[in-house]
Amino acid sequence: MRVFKSVYGCAGVLSLALAAGVAVWGQDAPDTGPKARLALKATESHIGNLTGHAADGKTDYRRYCAGCHGDYGDANGENAVWLDPKPRDFTIATFKCRSTLTGTLPTDEDLYNSIGRGFTNSNMPIWNTLSPQQRANLVAYIKIFSPRWDKEKAGEPIKIPAETAVTLDSIAHGKALFTKLECWKCHGSHGEGDGPSASTLTDSKDNPIRPYNFAAGKDDSRFKCGNSNQDIYKIFMTGVDGTPMPSFADVIQPNDAWDLVHFLRTLQINRHGKENEVLSAAHGVIPPYVDKNPAPAAPENKAPGSGQ
């Protein structure tokens, strides 16, 4: 028995030693190497009353985000190669969902909302299980990856006027805009994501990407950047940076934009909403739009297909 006891003693000592060794070994990778400076920045984020701190976001970033976005935010996590669409590359600081104009940095709130909302039709989950503080910390943390955050300020959020009434006239005008602005070239005349250019689209990293299919999904369908009418407004006015979806802020008047929103809602044929109610009351027929204040002869473009 004595022999046994000493064996147990050894095992105990061994396990303790391992415990101690592991405790040291188990800490996060040391902040050394060429990219160490990234971790040292004391970036902050401000969302309402919340202040996020990059240092507090590091563990959560490694736990939840790094597998795809990479330890260095360069979208080179071990899973990135398997994903479609690809994860965001934080070193470029180009973000899809913004309330700010194309080419500008998003606000902290935009990033915060993106984390909590997730991205439909992608692998980005809905991180609403993280506490607001955790999300704010992650917003601060992802800013350490690009020097743009040191030099530039976030863009000004676009001004969104109060939503106009959903009327058949509004839908008709929206349809005219959809045709004139050639949204159908990618999204298809019925918004099914099958326009003539759809199959050729690539994102800014040359990966193939599909245009949004409005007709898929039902009441629970979401857009990349939210599911409210305001979100749709923001999407086409600010553009989805890094993708083929451009900004229309320079070419659509703020109030006309609501007409386009109302028309886009009718492309979601399986969704129950005000827009589809108005349309069914008109037996599903959108009348041709008559411009009551015609602008001086702009060249008219005849589209081969027309929405709805």
Partner: protein, 233 residues
């Protein structure tokens, strides 16, 4: 009041001397090997553009001239001539016409005004794929005002129109005004270089960059030629 004429004389001398001793670097850009055949572009999906071209157009990634001349190569002074900080006041224009970019390669100084014009009867979206500068993407339907922008950091930026996948151009944003783009004969010329040591860089969108060191001692013209190895595909 004798100071003024003296000053004027001195100024004149200075200007003259700098002009007198200004060197020029000139030469020719050529290629060796066989460049990939540029694919013809089918604009069938955009009839308003197709009808502007009597003969089918091809891609412009590699444009060659007689005697192996290589066009669309940006040749510029990449070091030696400190940026004088002078941003040209006139804007450079990038035109979309017949679903092609004119010019195919547009050089501009940092912070120089860039005007983008749509002369077509169709909507384009202008999507310069900047990585150092801001990446933006804007729609420009026919008849709308030019898009005006500028870039504040030097960068070579690919430009595409997502609606018309064949449309492809390049912005070369430089921090120098000493540049040229090789034309039909592959020729380029960088005049007005004061004496000094320079590095001349030639950049081609597909074949990469080459550099050459040049020393200008006075009023002379130095010959520098660049030869790119063509990629077969």
């Amino acid at each position: 009041m004798r100071t003024k004429p003296i000053l004027l004389t001195l100024l004149t001398l200075l200007v003259c001397s700098s002009l007198m001793f200004a060197g020029t670097v000139s030469g020719k850009v050529t290629y060796t090997g066989t460049p990939a055949k540029q694919k013809p572009i089918d604009m069938g999906k955009e009839p308003s553009c197709a009808k502007q071209h009597a003969t089918p157009v091809t891609g412009e990634t590699v444009v060659t001239g007689p005697d192996n001349a290589l066009e669309n190569v940006v040749v510029y002074v990449s070091s030696g001539a400190p940026d004088d900080g002078q941003v040209p006041s006139q804007a450079v224009t990038f035109e979309q016409k017949g679903c092609q970019y004119i010019p195919h390669v547009l050089v501009m100084h940092t912070n120089q005004e860039l005007k983008i014009v749509n002369s077509d009867q169709t909507s384009h979206n202008i999507h310069p794929l900047a990585k150092v500068n801001r990446e933006w993407n804007k729609s420009q339907p026919p008849g709308t005002a030019p898009i005006v922008d500028k870039y504040d950091k030097p960068e070579f930026i690919s430009v595409k129109c997502n609606v018309h996948p064949w449309m492809h151009g390049e912005f070369a944003v430089l921090s120098t005004n000493h540049y040229d783009v090789s034309k039909g004969g592959g020729d380029f010329k960088l005049p007005n270089l004061p004496p000094g040591k320079y590095t001349i860089t030639a950049w081609h969108e597909d074949y990469g960059t080459q550099t050459a060191d040049v020393t200008i001692t006075g009023n002379e013209t130095k010959d520098v030629n660049f030869t790119f190895k063509a990629k077969a595909y």
